[in-house]
Symmetry: C2
């Protein structure tokens, strides 16, 4: 069975030494993670992920979910018990508002916990992940009454939540939604239509499921401007909070998927189900985006998490598997052959993954901290910067971490040779599970379009210019330290290339948006690489400061960072070149030529 | 169900216009494919792949193979009937020596046919693929009596063949083999041991299975120098050719794999089975390499083939799926949205795959033609060059085409969005099937080590220098044609970078082999990119010559080539940079740091 040890040490290094979250002890929730408390929380999360979630990951893959003749869904063996522990231990509302029963801890700490769960069992973790997203949307857009009615039970894990966007004819293009909402005399709506690919649309883990559904109010505007958001509970909720009648909705079937078998991906039929409007009519997209942004950070984290567990197993295999001798001479003459970890090409795959995952974790945490600042800082300038950064970085975190995460999982599988292809070793599941993360919550191509088409240009480019200035400031502050020189030089290189690409987009993409669209994915890669270079520079600085402790952790951090500079950073040149090719060659073939 | 149309037009363009195989009509077999015959053969192969193999591909994935209580194996529904047609139509021995009942057609034509089969049904095609490899080994290393006894029935498809190398403790490092061979008084051997991951080790398709088994003759030298090769038939063969007693071997179990479910991957138990030595004692590796080289070209082709079928399905989906409007304005205002093929980022994924697969096909065919020249040319200089090239290019074809093939399949899956992740659409199977090709017949890392550690240096680098000279000659000949200018410039760039990397390896890898090993995979990528640039230059030249026909095929070929130059060729700079980083950062961490 695959091994898993939650990366607590690395997480704590990031939270305390790199991001120094203790400096925010004046913000709500941050005071609760001072001193040893942070370590204790992370270590509880680790225990749960390692001992409860990881052991049922493969069972979930093999058994999958079953839809029963009565349209109920049975999750894999052990999921129900694990979910009960999850809820009982209070993990569901760890960073949620205490007004509604949440624990109010920092969002970035919650993300660290969800990284662990996601690595240990991605399919399981999607149930609470979606619930968190749905609750965030109600929190952001719902009325006080709705918040009081739904949030406490969602933050306690008693009820779950889902997002219902996709229909057979519409995925990315939500303007094509057909599901309709008919206003009733009592102010509710009757929701009718079919939704597909609804993660956790039905399950046997929670007493109730709060579906958030995008639908079109009869007579409203065409296209995306006529989309409203509704709360459509599986069981209606009485005024006293008890469960009422079963609503007119059901799971019509489950998808057969490449991976995440333990998560029920449902076709949902709404047949005049009672729904409650969230926020204003026809403004559903605004609230839905709150939910999607939260979810997109989480999906980026899934890419990283699968890379983490795949890496750990590849390392264990590479230490154990004896095959051939080191090119520099036998390292273990006492054994029939050396462990394959001595071979440079095996190192290459492991170091690529290690340099990625450590940088990616920093990037995800650094971004998530802005979610805390946005919602909790009393300083408007801080909140604005946080808002800018969250908007700008979210598509990069989502797409870059899932693209590279999949590559890292595939490389880790490759370390196993033939065993990597055999299901019992678990690597195939990690790869099959990781594959979805490039697709859902907006494909990675859509993330790239969001980045160049919306986020870059917003407020005259304020967010990206703030980022460039921040990097310049960091370079200026750290330039004097000779130990950091290669990191600072690398950061200068990456930042210059990203800036050049940004200028190219402004000059060539605004006048001809086909150029911007053609270059968007390469620009996003360049952005991700630059962000990771910045993270590595920050981590190097923190590790350098701790070097006198003599703890190998810091020396190894610096060596891994050097690997990133030598062997990953050069990709920035490639992506700059690609950005600057524009649309011409890409669009040269006629439609008929395909 | 996934669609598939065999790429006959592109294959014929390569064979006739680019490689001009008709100029070899003086060589055995080539005279038989003159005029319309080539097209007729390809079109028969296409029919078989499209109508017989493709329809049972998904059935094979879903059903998989079953091992019965009596240790027999049942292949998926339809495989038996398809195999009978395959044998009856004479596909098994299409390029084999007519002396033993083969049809003697060029190897490169056989490869074109096997590309089609492999695209349509990779799991099925492995059964005859392994048989071909085993037969080649007997042909190369067996006695006349052995050839007469086994080859006719293998070339007719009546019997199958397998390769038995791997054991639980040894994959790459075959010196660790434990399976033993005990000499008997009658000149035969008793073979005992366990072999794993034996593709087609047991099945219900053929009357007999001829296992080629690597084993150690008792008392022979330790390590790789004590390995001998044996023919170990499932049923012993009487002198009159009829089947005799069941041999003491059986399938002990089937692996549960990520993909290629339709192929039975067997644990094989040999329990004093009768075996016949092939060639000399302790020299088994030499003959086994004949088989592996043949197989490695075939595996490279699998990477390309899965890219081809995945691309075709992605294109069909992208034409059919309506979502959002083109950034340049609605292309199909009559429809609720435009087909997603209009979107640049969708184009990017399709064009990446198209530029790869067309170049890769040329590279595989160009290499395979040297197998024909090696075995059939009367001119020793031609045979030597062919031998050099085959040795040099085989690891590149294997690793480059499977690495990039997987990427291409994953990109094609991505075009489908969520549907790509749903098994019914077939894209998941293509990706799961394609994943094995990076591993078997020597992992891609081993291919890279073979390239830099063995193939480059052989005969003082004669092969690679011949290649550089050939490219220079081509540049010299084509320089004058202004229409080819970008291709010639691109080729010059790629070739210079590959030459620089080769020089770096000679200067830094010979004295410190850790440097060579550390850079091997990046060098292989650079080599593959350079080879594809050369292929694109040759294809552009051929297409340019046909441009006056006005056939769009040629214009589209040139446009696709331009895409390759603009957006793929720049990767050569990245890989050169990576090659030149050497081993330092890669090996900086202590073993204990992992």
């Amino acid at each position: 069975m695959p091994i898993f040890a939650a990366p607590v040490r690395d997480q704590q290094f990031l939270l305390e030494d790199v991001l120094d979250i203790h400096r925010y002890s004046n913000l709500p929730g941050f005071a609760d993670v001072q001193g040893d408390v942070l370590g204790a929380i992370l270590s509880e999360g680790a225990k749960f992920a390692e001992n409860v979630l990881a052991p049922i990951n493969r069972i979930g893959d093999i058994e999958g979910c079953k839809r029963n003749p009565d349209a109920s869904v049975t999750t894999p063996k052990g999921f129900k018990e694990a979910y009960r522990q999850f809820a009982d231990n209070g993990w569901a509302g760890i960073s949620a508002d205490p007004t509604y029963g949440g624990q109010g801890l920092p969002h970035v700490v919650a993300l660290a916990i969800s990284e662990m769960s996601s690595a240990a069992n991605m399919a399981f973790s999607m149930y609470p992940g979606l619930t968190r997203g749905a609750a965030e949307a109600i929190y952001a857009g719902g009325s006080d009454a709705q918040k009081q009615q739904y949030l406490p039970n969602m933050f306690s894990g008693k009820w779950a939540g889902t997002m219902n966007l996709t229909e057979p004819q519409c995925g990315t293009d939500l303007g094509l939604i057909k599901t309709k909402a008919v206003p009733q005399a009592d102010g509710t709506y009757k929701i009718s239509g079919q939704k597909i690919w609804i993660s956790g649309g039905e399950q046997d883990l929670t007493e109730n499921i709060i579906h958030l559904v995008l639908a079109r109010i009869e007579g409203g505007p065409e296209g995306i401007k006529g989309i409203s958001l509704f709360i459509v509970p599986k069981y209606l909720v009485n005024d006293d909070g008890s469960l009422g009648a079963r609503n007119a909705l059901e799971c019509g079937g489950l998808e057969h998927k490449m991976g995440i078998h333990g998560n029920a991906t449902c076709v949902m039929h709404y047949e005049g189900a009672t729904g409650y409007l969230v926020g204003e009519p026809h403004k559903g997209m605004r609230t839905m985006f709150v939910m999607m942004n939260e979810a997109r950070l989480g999906v980026g984290m899934q890419g990283l998490a699968q890379a983490e567990i795949a890496y750990q197993n590849a390392v264990a295999f590479a230490k154990d598997r004896l095959q051939s001798r080191a090119v520099t001479g036998a390292k273990r003459p006492d054994l029939p052959a050396d462990p394959i970890l001595v071979h440079p090409d095996v190192r290459r795959m492991l170091m690529d993954t290690r340099a990625f995952k450590e940088g990616a974790r920093a990037f995800a945490f650094w971004t998530a901290l802005y979610a805390d600042l946005l919602h909790r800082s009393p300083d408007e300038a801080v909140r604005q910067k946080a808002d800018d950064y969250l908007a700008l970085m979210t598509p990069v975190v989502k797409a870059f971490l899932t693209d590279r995460g999949l590559k890292a999982v595939s490389d880790s599988l490759q370390v196993f040779g033939g065993s990597g292809y055999v299901e019992e070793w678990g690597m195939s599941q990690f790869m099959r599970d990781a594959r979805i993360a490039l697709i859902y919550e907006g494909t990675n191509g859509i993330q790239a379009l969001d980045l160049v088409g919306r986020k870059l240009a917003a407020n005259g480019g304020r967010a990206v210019f703030t980022f460039f200035n921040e990097v310049e400031d960091f370079i200026g502050e750290s330039n004097a330290d000779p130990a950091l020189k290669p990191f600072i030089e690398g950061l200068r290189t990456a930042k210059d290339r990203l800036q050049q690409a940004t200028n190219w987009l402004m000059q060539n993409g605004l006048s001809n948006f086909e150029n911007a669209a053609a270059s968007s994915s390469d620009y996003l890669q360049l952005f991700g690489l630059t962000a990771l270079t910045y993270m590595w520079a920050m981590m190097a600085k923190a590790a350098q400061a701790k070097a006198p402790t003599g703890d190998d952790f810091y020396g190894n951090k610096l060596k891994t960072g050097r690997y990133f500079l030598d062997r990953v950073l050069p990709e920035t040149a490639l992506y700059l070149t690609k950005v600057e090719t524009g649309a011409e060659a890409m669009m040269a073939l006629d439609l008929e030529a395909f």
